[in-house]
Symmetry: none
DNA sequence: ATAATCAATAAGTATGAATTATCAAATAGA
DNA sequence: TCTATTTGATAATTCATACTTATTGATTAT
């Protein structure tokens, strides 16, 4: 006696409510009429209410049945929709990829990735957040981020890395500086100037790399200022407070009175890598990864 | 192989999604663990998607499972309500409206609404529950509640809001306090006292508003205690542990040795709003809304 | 190493949804 | 009135499958 309502009941009920005829409804459902009769009866028992009036050759809905019909239609539709959505999310066609990036990555790879994603998987949402290397690693480990773009040589266990872009370094000088593309030979020509660099804790790899560039030319740079924003660094150079060494692509996207001298002859490169958790379960991420692997 | 999803699956799924532990979930459901395992597996097969990740001693939800969990919660709640409504209609009633409210709303609008409903639609049942702002919003989204009375400036997408009552703020002081309606000019006269306020997470809007009242008079209040019950706040004031600022109508319905000074001259108002789901399907709610629109 | 704990698998049971066969009641046609 | 036909409800039976117990393999903790 103590049964539980099941979706089967709803489907049967709806058929009868539409046909208002047990035999026809049973036919439509590909079951026998007695089976349908008992199931509807059971349903009425569970709900404690009459749903149909059967008198003299006629089946009709009670007010309660009328109300239930509308609800069952809604519920079954909603369910169908939900099933579809679940499948889509499981297949990675729908969902969200949370991306973090260093400011300096905004010039190249990230915009391409976003455009490609939008085009190939328009139903995948993306959220973007500019974060430091360290903040990105922490966020990925805590599952607040799916994908990061960092400049790091090593990452904690459990994370995967893949280099996605190699950039040369460029010297950044005030426009009025005597050195230019024509007379520039080697970095030791500016060995005695003040240097403005990105902070160590913003990107230790960058900092070490810049130091090694100078070391290769036999001098230790005097670092007068440090910042975490390219904007700030360029502004300081513009005001002749020092010179800088930055990844070359950083020159695009700013309106500053500074000039860039690309140093192609040195071996160091600014490597941008993407990082993600090895066992990330977000299927939408896989799609993004597949896309990036092709780039 | 060609099974059909049933409500049983959803109930089982929800138990596992909540416990994230098959044996415990099975215990809660009063079935055996292997039975539960096979049912969940079958469910995943029907949906064509992995819902749980079982690896090394740990069960967790996939994104698809995460999504499904929210949907299942909604569906099961909605179903429960539908069953109730059907029964009520079958018994000759119009239905049920589930109302939530902040404690501070009990003094004015809610009682009027209830009385009006009872008079015009004596066959509509109402259930009342005192809940925080946040709890009300969650309950409405999950279809556990039809109508809420909250103090919020913004609500999530999919919900409608309508202000129903504007209240001034009053200062609450111990009876023996030197300040009274006669000599009170401005709130800065109590700038150096301790303040007892409703907790931020109970009603962020209230908290912000009270701070802005003080700010307008050029001081930052020292908040010594926070509570979620008006009763508690008044008790603390009575015992001279501080003073409070509350919506004026809160003064009715309590027997306390405190006095109220209404601050009509300040611009801030305590706004009580009603909230409901835009696509709520409860026909009884419509009736209640019509009534409230007239008030 | 040993024990403990987890979910998955295997085999058997039992619940209850289905079937077929039949009935009672009502209508329609002669 | 009689019969034929149609309706949904019962009764008896069959059959699918959700469930049980027993066990395994994998992993972790002591």
């Amino acid at each position: 006696m103590n049964y539980q309502i099941e979706l089967r009941h709803f489907i049967y009920f709806l058929a009868v409510a539409e046909e208002l005829h047990y035999r026809k409804a049973a036919e439509k459902l590909f079951i026998s009429q007695p089976g349908l009769s008992t199931q509807i009866k059971q349903m009425e028992e569970i709900l404690g209410t009459q749903l149909f009036v059967r008198d003299k050759k006629k089946v009709s809905l009670t007010p309660a049945g009328e109300f239930l019909k509308k609800e069952v239609e809604f519920i079954l539709n909603h369910l169908e929709q939900t099933k579809k959505q679940v499948k889509l999310i499981g297949d990675g066609q729908l969902g969200e990829v949370r991306i973090g990036f260093l400011g300096s990555a905004m010039q190249n790879v990230v915009p391409d990735l976003l455009l490609g994603l939008k085009e190939k998987f328009p139903t995948i949402h993306t959220t973007l957040e500019e974060l430091s290397n360290r903040a990105q690693i922490n966020a990925i480990l805590a599952d607040r981020l799916d994908l990061g773009f960092v400049r790091l040589s090593r990452v904690p266990k459990g994370l995967d890395v893949r280099p996605v872009f190699e950039d040369t370094f460029s010297l950044v000088l005030p426009e009025e500086h005597p050195l230019d593309k024509g007379n520039f030979r080697n970095i030791d020509q500016v060995a005695n100037e003040d240097f403005i660099l990105f902070s160590q804790d913003y990107s230790p790899m960058y900092y070490d790399t810049v130091l090694s560039i100078c070391e290769d030319s036999g001098f230790v740079p005097h670092v007068s200022h440090k910042s975490v924003h390219a904007q700030t660094i360029f502004k300081l150079v513009e005001n002749k407070l020092g010179i800088a060494i930055v990844p070359t692509t950083l020159q695009y996207g700013f309106q500053m009175k500074v000039k860039f001298i690309e140093m192609k002859n040195i071996k160091q490169r600014a490597v941008l890598s993407m990082v993600w958790k090895t066992d990330n379960r977000n299927p939408a991420l896989q799609k993004g990864m597949d896309l990036l692997m092709e780039l």
